[in-house]
């Protein structure tokens, strides 16, 4: 059984300053890296002889409009099926430069996950073979999951609740 410390130590030894913010919320090892390092990190994790993170579980993004310089966070979940070990990797991006390299050469499944993330958040995955919208229609000119698009019309007055203040 791999432990969080063991994996974290190996990653720090390999990447040094390029990985940061190690944490394990609910026992899931999480760390952040930069977009320049995302391909080397995944190549290392996938090719490592004992870790073998060969299964990409999920790619998604989160929008934090209030944290200046780190507005977008692309979140990767990888799973090592041989060791039964999950890992979460985050890459923070600024709002005016939402480019990140694609993972499609490493994992075929990244194709649609990245298209979905592009569709909902507008993150541009450089080198993606077919980066088009997937769930929404092509004519859409905004990225609906960003926080600046409220779910309901903000001007509606019948929804104001004096007691609970929403």
């Amino acid at each position: 059984m791999l432990t969080n410390e063991e994996v974290a130590k190996a990653i720090i030894t390999q990447f040094g300053e390029n990985v940061s913010d190690f944490d394990d919320p609910y026992d899931l090892l999480t760390f952040a890296t930069s977009r320049e390092q995302i391909i080397p990190v995944f190549t290392y994790l996938k090719g490592h002889s004992t870790f073998q993170f060969g299964f990409l579980t999920d790619i998604t993004a989160v929008h934090y409009p209030d944290s200046v310089g780190k507005e977008f966070c692309v979140v990767y979940h990888v799973h090592s099926l041989t060791n039964n070990f999950r890992l979460r990797i985050k890459v923070y991006l600024t709002a005016d430069d939402v480019h990140i390299p694609t993972l499609t050469p490493l994992f075929a499944s990244a194709n649609w996950m990245e298209r979905e993330t592009f569709d909902l958040f507008g993150i541009i995955f450089d080198g993606h073979p077919d980066l088009r919208r997937i769930l929404n229609m092509e004519e859409m000119d905004y990225y609906p999951m960003r926080k600046e698009y409220p779910l309901e019309d903000g001007t509606r007055e019948d929804k104001i609740d004096a007691l609970f203040g929403r």
């Binding site: 609910y26 999480t30 099926l81 075929a108 499944s109 769930l135 929404n136 609906p144 779910l151």
Partner: protein, 410 residues
């Protein structure tokens, strides 16, 4: 998409050159969006060379309902109804998966009885999910009989749902913190009856299909995918196990007391349609084993956790007791703040690893909720699996992959 040597404009031959030379000409075929043989709204734009599929391209999103966006405004308990509508063939699994995600965030321990009831309901859901998938695979190969036989059993499973939560398809079953109500005597009787009757029906179904020459000719070696490609494409669930990888979330990361039960993980070999069919059949037997064990060892005790802030108090208490009234009000109005946290929780859904990635900023609703929908991820392999096969094979492959439109588009 059209390759150089198959250019259709080359057909303009002068008449004096003798008989007309037939040049390969690709036909574009729209399979869907609505087509009686695709169960749900899927569009596949296929390039056909005669009857052979050269390439395909899927268009999805026809019933995209923006669940992730809606969830950012709803209190946690109201999101359960959204999960119902993802894989609607096995809604209880989605419901329980969501409840468990929130419970993990809140740090609530669930009593054993509630966990066992959840296991029973989840395995019933798996039964009905696999029944539909395999039954419809039969229909698509021209065998309507099996489908009709087993649909009675699906009806019986839905009656159990009705007894447990009051609904049949979009169940909204259970609550954050346990079950909404205990198993009633009627529900227990119905589950026990099912355990007696179902094996006979399933055996009959298997007799109709497993060694049926016509069926085997249609499915063996159709839509095969290697274990390596399947892993690369993010396959999970029965489809991955059919390719020979024994990954099952119930065993790998047990939740809701799955470690208490003894069951096997069936695996296939070649990852073709026949293997997927057989793996699902065998999983139904294993589900029956789990339900039997859970019913035999059903622990006594409460069916909900002691978490008054999150679990609705009994209605009688609300009328008599001030505290209960306050909690009732606060829970229903969604005024209970969740702790700050970040959770990923996965359950073995009807067609694979159903994951919930939840980020809470301490408010009444999630800051971000992402569903890892298994069929969204593995459906991208569909053109690769169909390549070089005929149109009728494509239909069969789609049935055997168990792609559910609601989950695909979320």
């Amino acid at each position: 998409m059209v390759s150089e040597e198959l250019d259709i404009t080359k057909n303009n031959l002068p008449a004096e050159q003798g008989p007309i030379q037939y040049v390969n000409e690709l036909t574009t075929l729209n399979l869907g969006p609505t087509h009686p043989a695709t169960h749900g709204i899927f569009q596949n734009i296929l390039q056909m060379d005669g009857e052979k599929i050269v390439s395909g391209e899927q268009t999805i999103g026809y019933i995209h309902r923006a669940f992730e966006k809606i969830a950012e405004r709803r209190p946690f308990y109201q999101i359960t109804t959204l999960t119902d509508r993802m894989n609607y063939c096995s809604s209880p699994i989605n419901n329980m998966g969501w409840h468990m995600t929130v419970e993990k965030l809140l740090g609530i321990d669930i009593p054993k009885r509630a966990q066992y009831i959840r296991v029973i309901m989840m395995e019933l859901a798996r039964l009905s999910d696999h029944l539909i998938c395999n039954g419809i695979l039969g229909v698509d190969t021209g065998a309507f009989t099996g489908f009709l036989y087993i649909y009675q059993e699906r009806e019986n499973i839905y009656e159990i749902y009705e007894e447990v939560c009051g609904a049949r398809l979009t169940t909204n079953m259970g609550r954050i913190g346990g079950m909404e109500r205990d198993l009633s005597p009627t529900a227990i009787r119905k589950i026990k009856e099912l355990l007696v009757r179902f094996p006979k029906v399933l055996r009959e179904f298997e007799n109709l299909f497993n060694r049926n020459r016509i069926f085997m000719d249609r499915v063996v070696n159709v839509g095969a995918i290697s274990a390596e490609r399947a892993l690369s494409y993010g396959f999970t669930g029965p489809n991955l196990r059919a390719a020979g990888v024994d990954y099952d979330v119930r065993v790998m990361n047990p939740y809701s007391s799955y470690q208490d039960f003894e069951f096997d993980i069936p695996v296939g070999k070649s990852g073709d349609t026949y293997d997927r069919f057989m793996v699902r059949n065998e999983e139904m037997w294993q589900s029956l084993r789990i339900i039997q064990q859970a019913m035999d060892n059903l622990p006594e005790g409460p069916f909900y956790a002691d978490a008054p802030q999150y679990y609705l108090p009994p209605k009688q208490e609300v009328y008599k007791n001030m505290e209960a009234l306050i909690y009732h009000f606060k829970i229903v109005m969604g005024e209970i703040d969740a702790p700050v946290g970040e959770v990923y929780h996965a359950v073995e859904g009807g067609n694979g690893e159903l994951g919930f990635y939840l980020i809470s900023d301490g408010g009444r609703a999630p800051y971000r909720l992402h569903f890892r929908r298994p069929c969204f991820i593995y459906y991208q392999a569909y053109p690769e699996m169909c390549k070089g096969l005929t149109l009728s094979d494509a239909i069969v492959i789609m049935s055997s992959m168990n792609v559910i439109a609601g989950e695909l588009d979320a």
